[in-house]
Symmetry: C2
């Protein structure tokens, strides 16, 4: 079968590889669509980061580069192992793409995303969504209702990232959220917040991204920090109080500063973005307002709720898909497009059979 | 009566002023001892900060410089207003030195320390502990048992700062804490943590402070970061897990870095220190371990528990008193000593009658 394989920085190859074999406790899936993630771009431009470099096998997967890429994918079950009784061929599914030690329990209340040597399918080994087929441990396979289109479903993984950030924030329906940055993760985080009943303000500079934030309806207001003092505007619309929760989705220091101003005393800021450097943090503000600045990584026990939000039509993922390509175009029409023309895009999805 | 009055940066005067008059809802107190706080030093060297500059009255107190200094004090009740029935003359007390709006409720569950325009008695007006007498609203006066020496009691206020940081952290008896820095607040925070049943590791460079941390018994181990990799040492002593909670009490960037390394995944770091600049924060570490970095300011509903810890002998505040001076020596023997010889001192307390 064909697969996109990461060899090294700027070296991704579309190759013919062996089909994965079904084994006990596992599920065989025909991949339908796989999204390209910012993490994939980081691996391409600056990696290997999550990918275990050639000759340095990952302690859980035992694999190192080359590995198959792709961790945001949907598909259809084609076979299940004899010991898997609760999934059947033909079912639509998405994958929670973790590589996590066997002995780590995956259940509510367990922060399995923080377990030692955690990595992701499609980065740390175990195949990936940028190939025609994949075999995945049963515990990471989540069925979805038939009426959810498989192209939309490819976005459930990044949506789960936004949901996890929301859960981390402690935000509640009726509360007020500020999202700094309307890139893919900012928009999907906003979509979760809106669906969960919060009032959502977005701060964004880019015209294309502002338009997308407005068009998708994920924000009650979209502010341009060149036009308004976003924090002052948020306070004005909250009777001087400030937002309950803030989400840093931009990796831009002034956005973090804005959030420290925009949230209320005892407010929470969740850092969802990936920083290439160590930003200066205004500690006096964090101190005087007793703000909590929280890290968030991946998801844990988020997929069930996210799938429900999509199945119930509370989040329409269609408008976030801005490109559909085949596997051969992965680098030229996918990665390069997202790198050079990133404001025009939210999510480019790949059909590994095309 | 005599009082230490803050006029401006580097301009503190010991003067004769009128005695404060008792009024409804208030309590008259003869001050016994008043500690000098790091905040006072900041006002002296770089202020006015909390002190309302001359001609810029504080919105609640209505006062501006000159104001009487001193917010860490103990004393004896000499008179109570007719409408105060639960305190009597002769009772030993400490003051929770807040200036907070009348309409803000002061009760458990309310973050009254975060209410608008919050300031402190002894900084924002309403007299101070660096004077012979003070009249204080009943709600800020906390009785203490007769067996608690009044010199020790002057340290209850900074101890409440440490207690509030502990409460913010969510730390629990049986847990493991790392305290970065063994200055006054680091030591008193460690004292609370130890009394509340946590294992306490302290990181400190200064020989004098290391000695004090050891002598006071507030730490299970004191590490010198020049001698050991503190984070690695903490992990080694926690079966590789890391500390549950960390406390930044140094305003030193490498200490914050150490804490990000030393706490476990999903750990909490409370920033107790005052930063003169915006430190660079290692966001990738905060993200990958889902660390919570929390601000803390002052205290709220902490005094009752702190007084109990002192009354029950679980914390002995005596060893933290490293100097006793009179009001006339405030600048030369107090402030200048703490500025130029700070490693030798924890807390210098002032007898405003001497």
């Amino acid at each position: 079968m064909r697969a996109a394989r990461y060899y090294d920085r700027k070296d991704i190859r579309i190759e013919e590889i062996d089909e994965p074999q079904l084994k006990p406790g596992h599920v065989a899936i025909d991949v339908a669509w796989c999204g390209i993630c910012g993490t994939d771009l980081h691996e391409y431009l600056e990696g290997p980061i999550f990918v275990p470099a050639h000759g340095h096998p990952h302690p859980i997967s035992g694999e190192s580069a080359p590995v198959t890429l792709g961790h945001e994918f949907s598909g259809t079950v084609t076979a299940v192992a004899d010991d898997v009784s609760d999934l059947t061929s033909g079912q639509k599914v998405v994958v929670e793409p973790y590589i996590i030690r066997e002995d780590v329990e995956v259940k509510p209340g367990v922060d399995y995303q923080l377990s030692p040597d955690m990595n992701f399918i499609g980065l740390g080994g175990r195949g990936g969504g940028l190939s025609e087929k994949i075999v995945v441990e049963r515990r990471w396979v989540h069925p979805i209702a038939d009426h959810v289109p498989l192209d939309h479903a490819a976005l459930i993984e990044p949506l789960a990232v936004g949901h996890h950030a929301f859960v981390r924030s402690g935000g509640k329906a009726g509360g007020v959220a500020v999202v700094g940055g309307a890139g893919p993760i900012g928009l999907l985080t906003a979509a979760v917040l809106k669906a969960e009943g919060l009032t959502v303000f977005i701060s964004e500079l880019s015209e294309a991204r502002k338009a997308k934030a407005r068009e998708t309806g994920v924000a009650d207001e979209v502010f341009d920090p060149r036009e308004v003092d976003v924090a002052a505007e948020v306070r004005r619309r909250t009777d001087g109080r400030g937002a309950d929760v803030g989400f840093e989705c931009s990796s831009v220091p002034v956005v973090l500063d804005m959030l420290l101003d925009a949230v209320r005393p005892a407010g929470v800021i969740v850092n969802v973005s990936i920083w290439g450097h160590k930003p200066a943090v205004d500690m006096p503000k964090l101190v005087l307002k007793e703000i909590a600045l929280l890290g968030t990584i991946g998801y844990a026990n988020d997929h069930r709720r996210v799938i429900e939000l999509v199945e119930d039509g509370k989040i329409d993922l269609g408008p976030f898909i801005t490109g559909r390509i085949g596997l051969d175009g992965l680098v030229s029409e996918g990665f390069e497009q997202l790198i050079n023309n990133n404001e025009q895009h939210v999510k480019i999805i790949v059909d590994p059979r095309a």
